[in-house]
């Protein structure tokens, strides 16, 4: 690992200033330290942002949440108001990593963790995301766990975060502190598709500090489901976050997002449209899944994900529909 200086930020302005001088933000370090050890990230300065006063979860009177960027993944998932009002979020966080990692991982770091594409993590290999213009060996090579939607000729990686999939379904937004002041970015505009610039995972500008995540009230049943290669402690092949409001056997409101299928958490608007106002039956669940997955462009070795995503959509909607 390359030697680096370690500093603690004393305020947001202080963090931004140090970043402008070349320091990288350090959260819990569970992704960044790993990538530094692998030689993928080579910062010469780290500025620790976990001691900034962003360690609270605030509940507003309407049932919305403001989650500080330094809140640990464990504390978020254990929070009573989150478990009560936004169970899909707690479930998504609990579906990620291990108890040890969740105790350390922060909300900000979780949002900004990098892809687990094996070429990205191997500094000796070409990879457009790590080294723009060097090529994407995954397209011809090992890609069974990579994207089926929204990928480009430059990159077929998936975003690894479970939490972000729930946040996409919940219409969350990210509070950002940048050089030009504070702003609030809807999660759908926060992440991006690879296009011809896969080196950028998000629309953040250099130095932007994530300070909080805002989650509007939900008020309907919700659930997270994740399919992976072993029962626990593995990244998603496909995952799903769903919220569903049923009245008189008809879908009144629905939010659906998929994980493990694209460069960003995939909000399934077409499926939602196909469901809204229609009966809660398997036939309509299947139609909705197909409406969304029509756009899928699987690679040589990951067509199974299309089937998996379809079945997961149908099954999770059925499970949620039953309870209502």
């Amino acid at each position: 690992m390359r030697p680096f200086a370690y500093e603690r930020a004393t305020s947001a302005e202080d963090a931004l200033r140090r970043h402008a001088e070349g320091a990288a933000y350090l959260g819990g370090g569970t992704n960044l330290v790993d990538l530094m050890r692998l030689g993928v990230e080579l910062p010469s300065r780290l500025v620790d942002v976990t001691h900034l006063p962003y360690d609270q979860i605030q509940l507003d009177p309407n049932g919305g949440l403001l989650i500080g960027a330094a809140v640990s993944n464990s504390d978020l998932a254990a929070d009573r108001t989150v478990r009560e009002g936004h169970p899909v979020l707690a479930q998504a966080v609990l579906a990620g990593a291990s108890g040890q990692i969740r105790n350390v991982a922060t909300v900000g770091g979780n949002l900004l963790q990098r892809t687990r594409c094996s070429y990205f993590q191997d500094a000796a290999k070409p990879c457009n995301k790590r080294n723009p213009g060097s090529g994407c060996p995954a397209i011809e090579g090992e890609h069974h766990n990579l994207a089926i939607l929204g990928h480009s000729e430059a990159c077929v990686a998936t975003h690894p975060s479970d939490m972000a999939v729930a946040l996409a379904a919940l219409d969350a937004s990210v509070h950002v502190r940048g050089h030009a002041g504070e702003r609030v970015v809807p999660i759908e505009d926060f992440y991006r598709l690879p296009g011809d610039a896969p080196e950028r995972d998000t629309t953040l500008e250099p130095g932007d500090l994530v300070t909080a995540v805002e989650v509007p009230p939900l008020g309907m049943p919700s659930r997270y489901r994740k399919v992976r290669e072993r029962a626990s402690f593995a990244f998603a092949l496909v995952s799903i976050a769903v919220a569903l409001r049923v009245d008189g056997g008809v879908v009144r409101d629905v939010r659906l997002a998929l994980g493990g299928v694209a460069h960003k958490p995939w909000r399934a608007r077409r499926a939602e449209e196909a469901l809204r106002g229609n009966p809660v039956t398997e036939e309509f669940f299947l139609r909705a899944a197909e409406a969304e997955l029509e756009a899928a462009e699987p690679l040589r070795d990951n067509a199974y994900k299309v089937t998996l995503a379809r079945n997961l959509i149908v099954r999770t909607l059925a499970e949620l529909g039953e309870g209502t």
Binding site: M1, R2, P3, F4, A5, Y6, L26, G29, T30, V33, D34, R37, G39, L42, L46, D48, T50, S74, A77, A78, R83, E84, P87, A90, Q91, L94, A95, A97, S98, G99, Q100, I101, N103, V104, A231, S232, F233
Partner: protein, 181 residues
Amino acid sequence: MDSEATPVKAEITLRVNGAEHRLDVDTRASLLDVLREDLGLTGSKKGCDHGQCGACTILVGGRRVNACLALAVAHDGAEIVTVEGLAEDGRLSPVQEAFIEHDGFQCGYCTPGQLCSATGMLDEAERGWPSAASEDLRVDPVLDDDEIRERMSGNLCRCGAYMGIVAAVREAAARREAAEA
């Protein structure tokens, strides 16, 4: 890569198993390396150095964490317990005793991490923390075998001693409950 570059040093204080240590560490050093190399506490093991196996699990401020991904320099002032500190006054902890009773190991390499992880996990369960195995997040979970397996999934065992590990953790949980009743 930059093997020529000069290391950056920092002075930190760690409280490990009750004893305070002032240390001059390389900023790149993990807590695992500092515990093993500088303090001679070789109980914590390095299985993968990537957060994937749990052999390095220790308790920091009472919480279980992977020592291999924790930068020592970021933990100035931390209160740490390693496997060497689980026993009190020469008496094994209930978790340690249960691992012996139920054959919770074969080669023993993963065991220090399993013991620290189980210790931290039982505290989490006592605080009512849910897991991915909890069906209803509104109620406090009951530690059945599915819950134990899920909560211990960050600790791999190449010997496959999982049957004994689950039995040991189940027993330690029951003893703890009995002690409190």
